[in-house]
Symmetry: C2
Subunit: 271 residues, 2 copies
């Protein structure tokens, strides 16, 4: 089983950029960048020193792996269009939220190549710690995707569409929602003129513990202690911040369902 | 201004234990451990090689600093009782949630010595990174507490009662609620037979970014993108988990208030 030698990268956003750089660094040959916006396509293609186009019909002949690193809601459409020009290629998308089977009506060979990481423009990913979640419609392509993931990373998991859908929900909690907790904390401190840096050590400690043991076992704070005096004092302060107050109530209830808290209908969002 | 030489540690829980060990390691002389439960008092006192008692009236004479590392709801009562025997001592509690002024009716000299960290039994705190939030009713005691904090730690902040109350709310979000997000993620993965370790790199990346820049600027995910297709798919999966579903809705709305989401009253907790 040979690694692909004519890779087409579709998209020029954060995932396309980071994956493109990494594939190139590992001598996996990207031959073209395709992207709706010519400018972004050219920028990335120049960096990778490959061809580019903003027209799907310009796809190079004999592409063997087409990476659809595009918006979730564009995957099916772009796959459908490109498959006309590259019927034999393996198509994979990079989305945590989209079934691989969305490509089944259009592509003979399809799968998923999903790096479970939150990519930002500035930050270089630590590839050895990025879990690659791969899946494919046939066993040979699955083996190929695993092999590629092992070349550019270290952690490889075969994750089905059903598993990945749920994994994505878990990732939303562990990443997006945890980050929002940090953001709310920062905004609260701002209002008292206190520096967010004061909380940095606590945040580091929180994470360190959650990595050592089950975070459920590590839960601390007024909710798990059942300390209603503190909770009521916090809720009084939060009454001018209804979204945060609702979050506080529902978080506390989820941590400790026995707490005697008002139903969410008491909050200003409800009827 | 001399450091205290006859310190009484009241309490034998996690904060008392970690503070006691650290004070001893830095040659600050603890002379006694007082605690309602004789067994816990003895265990800690033996480790620190000091006297102990489970009777307040047994407090050593001429104590100069009395650390009330007791439950929030016991601080006032314990302070009131001990102040009869040690009217000249400096009393401080270690609570993030309790005003220092709660000791004003009983103690001549009072203040707060609050290490902003989440202590667990197993984990040795990295003291150089623990922010000590100190306050006192008079300037001399404030200076003394700052000096002590500098001996046993590195980061010292003068934080008033009002500021500390709000700081504690922020800490609940950044620590307790972020940890609960991790806990929910773990439980969701369990249901699919997926290992929580898959999310560890994402969690580390989330924290690393939140420490580098404002977490608000680092927000990613379906809510901030306004990706309602993904959100609706996630909410369908979460319908068997009403507490988590409510959290998901609240979080998404707090991240992006323009999302067309149901009011919380649609959730099973509401009337």
């Amino acid at each position: 089983m040979n690694l692909p030698t004519r890779i087409v990268l579709v998209g020029a956003g954060r995932i396309a950029t980071h994956l493109g750089r990494r594939l190139r660094a590992k001598n996996l040959r990207i031959v073209q960048v395709l992207n709706r916006s010519a400018k972004a396509a050219q920028t990335l293609a120049d960096e990778l020193q490959v061809e580019w186009s903003d027209q799907w019909a310009d796809i190079v002949p004999n592409a063997d792996w087409i990476i659809l690193a595009v918006r979730d809601d564009a995957i099916a459409d772009v796959g459908a269009q490109l498959s006309q020009y590259a019927p034999d290629a393996l198509f994979t998308h990079t989305s945590g939220a989209t079934p691989g089977a969305i490509l089944a009506p259009y592509c003979q060979r399809y799968g998923v190549f999903y790096p479970l990481q939150s990519f930002s423009a500035e930050h270089v990913p630590l590839w050895s710690k990025v879990p690659f979640c791969v899946d494919a419609a046939n066993a040979e392509d699955l083996a190929l995707l695993k092999k590629i993931a092992k070349v550019i990373g270290n952690l490889v998991y075969h994750i089905t569409d059903d598993q990945r859908a749920v994994l994505h929900i878990a990732a939303v909690f562990a990443n997006n929602f945890a980050n929002h907790c940090f953001a709310v904390a920062e905004r609260i401190l701002e209002q008292q003129g206190l520096p967010f840096e004061m909380l940095h050590p606590l945040m580091e400690e929180t994470l360190a513990k959650a990595l050592l043991d089950s975070p459920e076992n590590m839960q601390t704070g007024p909710a798990i202690r059942g300390d209603m005096d503190t909770i009521q004092r916090h809720l009084r302060w939060l009454q001018d911040h209804p979204l945060w107050r609702t979050l506080y109530v529902d978080m506390s209830r989820s941590i400790n369902p026995t707490l005697p808290l008002d139903a969410p209908s008491a909050s200003p969002q409800a009827d």
